[in-house]
């Protein structure tokens, strides 16, 4: 009991034998903070500063302007399609990989991670090679008057590609660590497949699922390179928010570019905040689970 009553600081403090002298400590902290300030915090602050530099009127005008609104709509639409698709994929892949033993499993995990190591530009290009006018399906698509490249479906495809791994790679280690005993117990007690998944598995992975979804969504809304290749940059039609930022910037409309960019920066901050909250829930969940297993 005594130990738990002590304030956190005295429990956390490292003994002197393994502690650096104060001047070393503060020098290292100072260096780290200087680096982070220079490369992270200043750019972040600058986005909001530049966005609001010319006043709130200019700021809001840039955001409610029709092309901006259409870009917001498109970005939301793309995320609304890409994220659920990868959510279903992530659950299916994690179920197969974490709950069963089969050959070629590690190869499959590597394949799932593949999109992470492909340059965004190449991710867009490969869809042009298939669906573009000179692509494999190009002539057939043109005949049937279907447009994929320079259209919303191409943007969705490229976004799905770059966000494939996010949810699966969160769920796989989580579900592997949880093992299969609870599911086996459920089946032995008479539960069918859906009951086992929805009542036992899903509640156990909900935080990991949410975590992966948040990251997946952030990337889906923020993707630039891949989308840039397949979009065609048609204002008011195939422009997502990041592409809209680029157009405004290239037109030297800096205030508007930063105004729209600030929306995306806000999205990033919300993502980080949610991520931090969910992370602490996951840690807590894990501690409970460890307690659950041990003793």
């Amino acid at each position: 009991m005594n130990a738990t009553n002590l304030p956190a600081t005295s429990r956390m403090r490292r003994p002197r034998a393994t502690q650096e002298p104060a001047w070393v400590r503060w020098t290292l902290i100072g260096l780290a903070l200087a680096f982070l300030t220079l490369f992270l915090f200043v750019p972040l602050i600058l986005v909001f500063y530049e966005a609001l530099k010319k006043g709130a009127d200019v700021y809001f005008a840039a955001i409610i302007e029709p092309d901006a609104l259409s870009a917001i709509r498109l970005t939301l639409t793309v995320a609304a399609i890409a994220v659920p698709l990868n959510l279903i994929f992530g659950i299916a892949a994690a179920w197969a990989i974490a709950k069963f033993e089969f050959r070629g499993k590690s190869l499959l995990i590597t394949l799932i991670d593949l999109p992470f190591s492909v340059s965004p530009v190449v991710s867009g290009l490969i869809y042009v090679l298939i669906f573009g006018l000179q692509g494999w399906l190009g002539p057939w698509l043109a005949e049937h008057d279907i447009q994929v490249i320079f259209a919303v479906s191409g943007i969705v495809l490229a976004t799905v590609f770059v966000t494939v791994p996010f949810i699966a790679r969160e769920l796989i280690p989580l579900m592997q660590a949880q093992g299969t005993e609870e599911e086996e117990a459920a089946v032995a007690l008479g539960a069918n497949g859906w009951q086992t998944f929805s009542r036992v598995t899903l509640p156990n992975i909900k935080w990991g699922l949410l975590y992966g979804t948040i990251l997946c969504n952030a990337r889906a809304m923020g993707e630039f390179g891949a989308v840039s290749v397949v979009s065609g940059h048609i204002r008011g039609s195939t422009n997502t928010l990041p592409l809209h930022v680029e157009i405004l910037y290239n037109e030297y409309n800096f205030a508007a570019a930063f105004a729209v960019a600030s929306l995306l920066a806000l999205l990033a901050l919300v993502t980080l905040a949610l991520k931090t909250v969910v992370e602490s829930r996951i840690t807590q969940h894990k501690e409970n689970a460890n307690e659950h297993r041990g003793a």
Binding site: A185, A188, N288
Partner: protein
């Protein structure tokens, strides 16, 4: 309900977990599957439950082939080694789970589920924990909840995988006798897996000793302890001393002492080993006849009613220490201290011809 398994075999890669195992579990008995890790006991239990499928062989429930029956249809209650309680559900919901997932037409009404769960929680003496979560319970409590959950679906058979494996010594002992009493009240056919011989001998009606995917011996605790069928069973159940021996036409020489061995009348100049329990060795200060071995006391442990001696033979090449157990009274009579010379003689023994590898 009785269980029978016939000629079960199962491989995991190159590892043979079960080799041609056949066994009968009588209706209403409490049976222990005892063996070291890797002996196939857990695999056998999982095959009976339907959690694993054997490569060959049959499982019969009440004489009916259940080999291809899904675990859902077998009506077995299974208690997992780490309990596998659903961590996201309260204790109440854990126990109610098996009833709640039933199809609508056979699902009991909510009120009945509530009553049944509370009855079960009372049975395991934990009804005050209904609204807690598994991680808030101690190991022993979780174990009892796991049992209550398995019983909720009114299984015909109860299967327990190392039910006390993860508990500390004191809780183990309490739960052991509690399980025995519970079984005596309910008379449900039960099989449990354990690597702890004391647990198996103390709790079970019959014990199945397994080794290397095979059954070594089946019998009541008394039978397997008093009459081990193989050297393995001898060594696995309790301490035993080994003596180099020789067999020839119904006679045996245990480290030079000549004795009768009528069950080995056929043996011709066979190398053998005599297995002698520590309490089956007679200890004296003086040699009463020639058939005694001289030894020296190297260690005395006199805590408790039994005194444990460690001896080294003086006139033998075999310098492995011999473990002997004598009563406190006998110890007082002999007044032994370290370094004393004694004469020992096996009172009861079993002879097994050495395996030729």
């Amino acid at each position: 309900m009785s269980i029978e398994v016939r000629n079960l075999s199962k491989q995991f890669g190159t590892f043979a977990a079960l080799r041609d195992v056949s066994l009968e579990v009588h209706s209403g008995e409490l049976l222990a599957l005892l063996g070291p890790s890797g002996s196939g006991k857990t695999t056998l239990l999982r095959v009976i439950a339907g959690l694993d499928v054997a490569d060959a062989g049959q499982v019969l429930f009440q004489g009916e082939d259940a080999t291809d029956q899904h675990v859902r249809e077998r009506q077995v209650g299974f208690v997992f080694q780490h309990y596998a309680l659903f961590r996201n559900m309260t204790i109440f919901e854990n126990v109610a789970f098996g009833l709640r997932v039933r199809p609508k037409n056979v699902r009991p009404p909510d009120a009945e589920i509530r009553d049944r769960v509370h009855d079960l929680l009372k049975l395991v003496q934990l009804d005050w924990l209904a609204e807690r979560y598994p991680h808030q319970l101690s190991g022993g409590q979780r174990q009892r909840i796991a049992l209550a959950r398995a019983l909720a679906v009114e299984p015909k058979v109860l299967l327990l995988d190392e039910p006390f494996g993860a508990l500390d010594a004191k809780v183990r002992k309490e739960l052991r006798s509690w399980l025995r009493r519970l079984h005596d009240d309910m008379h449900i056919t039960s099989v449990f897996v354990t690597h702890d011989q004391e647990e198996a001998l103390e709790v079970a009606d019959r014990v199945v000793v397994m080794n290397g995917g095979r059954i070594e011996q089946v019998g009541t605790p008394d039978e397997v302890y008093e009459n081990p069928a193989s050297p393995f069973v001898y060594e696995f159940l309790g301490n035993v001393n080994l003596f180099h021996s020789r067999l020839h036409r119904g006679r045996a020489w245990i480290d030079g002492i000549e004795v009768d061995a009528p069950e080995h009348a056929e043996a011709e100049e066979l190398a053998a080993t005599a297995y002698v329990r520590p309490h089956d060795i007679e200890v004296d200060r003086v040699a009463k006849d020639e058939a005694a071995l001289a030894a020296r006391v190297t260690h005395v442990l006199s805590v408790g009613p039994i005194v444990r001696l460690e001896l080294i033979r003086e006139d033998s090449k075999d310098k492995n220490p011999i473990q002997v157990e004598i009563s406190k009274e006998r110890f007082r009579e002999l007044q032994l201290v370290r370094g004393d010379q004694v004469f020992i003689k096996p009172r009861r023994f079993d002879l097994f011809p050495n395996q030729i590898h």
